[in-house]
Amino acid sequence: MIETDILIIGAGPVGLFTVFEAGLLKLKCHLIDSLPQIGGQCSEIYPKKPIYDIPAYPSILAGDLSDKLMEQIAPFKPGFTLGETAVSIEETEDNQFIVTTNKGTKHKAKNIAIAGGLGVFTPRKPPIPTIKQFEDKGIDYIVKDPEKFRDKKVVISGGGDSALDWAIFLAEGVAKEVSLVHRSKSFRGHLDSVQKIMDMATEGKIDLMTDSEVFELKGDSDLETVTIKTKEAENTIKKVDYWLPLFGLTPKLGPIAKWGLEIEKNAIKVDTFDYSTNREGIYAVGDVNTYPGKLKLILCGFHEATLMVQSAFKRVHPDKNNVLKYTTVNGVNGF
């Protein structure tokens, strides 16, 4: 059981900065994130995009902002449970919470700070009616262990980096046969990867099918064939062991929607005094919350987190009075 003072759900910029403000009050933090890396939307959706409204940074790349925050919070030694989704919450008799992830990791804390942004990043699934029946029976949306595909026949769909990178990786001596199916002739992924795919197609290592789309799936129990339509050509039926539709991730509110919190328009309602939710001890900061006048800005999330930890302090130390201290006077005293 991981124990901490504030359990932060979501390791995006606001979740990360919460560690700093909590640390100034000598509160320890642990973060859970469903992504395997920190940074939230900043790392998953737009790491190379400049942000212009972070005070004192005329421009900073979203990825760099995450790195800088990690540097800033390092003295407070936060713990991380990455690549796991916070699924359930229970309250203990001593007024604490236990949060369990989809992989069964348990975390105990007096305070829960939900900094979940737009929610859990989940795979975008093509709208093929039979897709669900083949999930884990030949369809994977995320490659976890490439060895699974050794000597198998694999069809990959998508035009972004993950589709390109896995097509290249699996075609280089792992899978028996790799096809890359994309609806267009141009790709969203890095130019180097696109060039590599083109070269491998010429060398016969990859069956590259552009202007094409998988539209039908067949199999008795496991997936056996995919049917591909190609612009101005006959349909192709391919025998496959696996189809990997790799179309990126999209956020969904996810399990926290069922935590008994008041939800309005896909966001958690909070009191702006301390960003507390309707459940005592559970707070919500950043894009995941809503209140009159709410703006979904990183900048506002930082402010929210700062006020929130004051209240969290009170729950950890009901008998102590907290006084605002300036970092210019006291510096940053890590753990």
């Binding site: 959706i45 709208p127 998508g158 969203r188």
Partner: protein, 114 residues
């Protein structure tokens, strides 16, 4: 027409037409306009042409069907794409769009598995 205000019609996923007054001098796009009227457009990526949640079908000739490069690449990986599909976030409101009619594309990524 009032200065810098145009009228556009957005047909929602239930087929209901909403006639909206749209300012053209506020650097707004169609995704933002829909959101400002609380129509069910998510705009997950905030307008960077990186999610396709604001896909809409252009129903008359008040705006070009030509897509920019990022928009095209995103639509290449989106669902229910038609010849008249565009991303709302890439359509910047301008006076010549007065009378524009759009229809929201179906939402397919909203299913919750939890």
């Amino acid at each position: 027409m009032e200065e810098n205000i145009i009228t556009v019609t957005v047909i929602d996923r239930e087929g209901v037409a909403h006639k909206l007054e749209a300012p053209t001098d506020m650097n707004m796009n169609m995704m933002e306009l829909c959101k400002s009227y609380e129509l069910p457009v998510k705009g997950t990526c905030g307008g960077m042409a990186m999610c396709a949640s604001c896909q809409m079908y252009i129903e008359n000739d008040k705006v070009t069907l030509e897509r920019n490069e990022d928009e095209q690449l995103m639509l290449d990986e989106a669902w229910n794409v038609e010849d008249n599909s565009r991303l709302g976030c890439q359509i910047h409101l301008a006076n010549e769009m007065d009378g524009l009619i759009v229809r929201l594309a179906p939402e397919v990524d909203d299913e919750d598995d939890w």
